[in-house]
Symmetry: C2
Subunit: 393 residues, 2 copies
């Protein structure tokens, strides 16, 4: 594996440094108003001038992490400074301190979501990474203050408008908070005890409510008492890419805790179950949704192949292999790796396509929109480069 690891490391680093990161700097970074456009067509031309608040924080995480881990590229720093400044100037509502979801190119508010805190959690990721990359403890503090605000929103009835009148709990929240606090912990080592306690709480929620041995699945939603909602579409809906993303967050926590065996077991179990549900044995790729009981889907696009579940499956399998040495994870890693090379990478204009039909044919050739931008793909290359670098030594 040593030699292969080295070749793969070169390939992944090349994709990251010479393809993905320059694509968004060249076409996405707004050198007039600051911040980053993500709604780009196949050739990088702008399809929508609005800016996704999620992606200002996510792109900040990406370029700051690349600066810290890969190379001290001045362009990465320019992008980070621009993103931080755009976020602070334009992405918070002065009326109540909450963040917007979409703003215009100049930073005028366009959409504010009232049910979710994801704009905030991605800003925390970005601030934490910025702090680490450029030795700015003030941004670690800002990230921490924002986490406390998010916790306040989540714990104060009436701040977030719930989607469902009867309480449901979702896997997405503890899973995204797990990753958010992991990143923040690295930026604020003084508070490690406090962050570990939070993480223990998220892990407990995930293990108790969402990892379900009775059906060998990870569910996305259940009742607060832990009972499944098998009479409902949402209660049966599996999102394999999402669960596999959660699996590698947990494996990463196991790595942080000296290969803690319980966490390794939890992470690999989630990966095993959801790989088996999510990989499309017939046509390849991780499918978007599956029904826990195999019943008919209500989401008409349930069988599409999106870019990001393939990224998460790549990371999770490589990480599981690097921790367990099991060949089956290496085989699975290679299977996704080949699928991505055969279907997602655009060899003419760079970057990846985002949206394929079930059979692998292209649905839309755009490179970005409000949900696709410089995050999952560069994160995959960043995390895999670290893992491959360890493996090749």
């Amino acid at each position: 594996m040593k030699q292969t690891s080295d070749l793969l490391y070169q390939e992944y680093r090349h994709m990251l440094v010479d393809n993905i990161l320059p694509f968004w700097l060249r076409y996405g970074l707004d050198r007039v108003h600051g911040g980053m456009y993500t709604a780009l067509d196949r050739d990088g031309s702008i399809l929508d001038t609005d800016k996704s608040v999620w992606f200002q924080g996510r792109a900040l995480w990406t370029y700051a992490t690349a600066y810290r881990q890969v190379e001290k590229n001045a362009e990465f720093k320019t992008a980070c400074d621009s993103l931080v400044s755009f976020i602070e100037k334009h992405c918070f509502d002065p009326a109540d301190g909450r963040m917007f979801f979409r703003v215009s190119k100049e930073g005028r508010p366009e959409i504010k979501r009232i049910r979710y805190v994801f704009s905030e959690t991605f800003a925390i990721l970005g601030f934490a990474a910025y702090s680490r990359a450029f030795n700015r403890p003030d941004y670690a503090q800002k990230a921490y203050d924002l986490l406390l605000k998010v916790e306040g929103y989540l714990n104060t009835p009436g701040v977030l408008v719930p989607k469902f009148e009867t309480a449901s709990i979702g896997f997405g929240l503890p899973m995204i908070l797990l990753n958010t606090v992991q990143e923040l912990r690295a930026a604020l080592p003084d508070r490690v005890v406090e962050f570990n306690a939070r993480i223990d709480g998220y892990l407990e929620q995930i293990k108790t409510h969402f990892v379900r041995p009775e059906l060998q699945i990870v569910v996305e939603q259940c009742n607060p008492d832990g009972s499944l909602q098998l009479d409902h579409f949402e209660g049966r809906q599996l999102n394999p890419g999402h669960a596999i993303e959660g699996a590698w967050f947990i494996l990463n926590e196991a790595r942080y805790r000296n290969n803690d065996p319980d966490l390794m077991n939890l992470g690999t179990t989630m990966l095993d179950w959801m790989w088996s549900k999510g990989w499309d044995a017939e046509m390849g790729g991780i499918i978007y949704f599956r029904d826990a009981l195999g019943r008919s889907a209500t989401e008409y696009w349930h069988d599409m192949k999106f870019w990001w579940p393939q990224c998460e499956a790549t990371i999770a399998n490589l990480m599981a292999y690097s921790m367990t040495g099991k060949e089956s994870y290496l085989t699975q890693f290679d299977t996704v790796h080949q699928y991505i090379k055969g279907h997602f990478i655009d060899r003419e204009f760079g970057e990846w396509y985002g949206y394929l039909h079930r059979d692998g044919s292209l649905s839309t050739p755009l490179k970005g929109n409000m949900y696709k931008g410089p995050f999952h793909i560069p994160r995959m290359y960043l995390v895999c480069c670290q893992l491959l670098d360890e493996l090749r030594r």
Copy 2:
């Protein structure tokens, strides 16, 4: 055409009376708690026990209209009584009088939407049709009172939470209000002058803002001053099925106004432009979205074939043919008619599929969910039976 019209009339009436209407009575009507389930699998088995509030009103419209126009079937009346009672008991929030979006099978609130008034407009449709079918002027009055409430919500800032911070106006609202008030006018003939004035207003909005000769399109959204939002996905997004539905509402208004030539011209122009944008010449069927400038779509499911745009195209072409006598409309009608027979009708279990991939293959075999139920399909057969009955005479 006389002979063909008669055969088609028989075929459409047979589909309506022996296939579609019994399917939902048999599998959807909840004889325990009242109201109707719409989340049904291919064979009619229940996939989700929640009830769509939209569909309680829409199904009421369907069965009441079928009772009035097609046959005085006691089962239709049973369904209508059940739906009216379920709506009045469970679908309004006693706290503020607004309607829910989804309730449990027993009528417990599940989801309330804060941006839209469509639950209300479909209840108006249902109450108006119930009033006409069963000679219940009290329900015409209730429908009218609900319309006044809707107008109040729309005109009182702060009642509806707008999706966009900067004002945008949408085609959907005047278009759905046009149809709602047309139905209400038929139930409350004393108020015809008042309703006609409202309808003139909706038609003016549609003509001024959404029908755009400069690009030969009907747009879904624009700025309040009428300028297009061509820098944005939403501003360029065309929904041909939706625009064609609006076209036949306008043609229907022309019929009501003794074939008013301006309205006939408006309706057929909308149909002509949006048929040319929406019909997939390569693979058949009306496609879901198109981009006004032919740029890449952001909605990954943009190229799917849904059931309802085919219904709207069927009605619009037959109505345009019946009013203008132009053969091209008859050809287009037959083209959709054949596509529906070849792809949507389930000859084994009855009813239609709802969601096909672009190439016509099945995405999900279910018969209903929170968005598909007894409305567009039976309405298509109901309206076409009327038109064919006129044509065969």
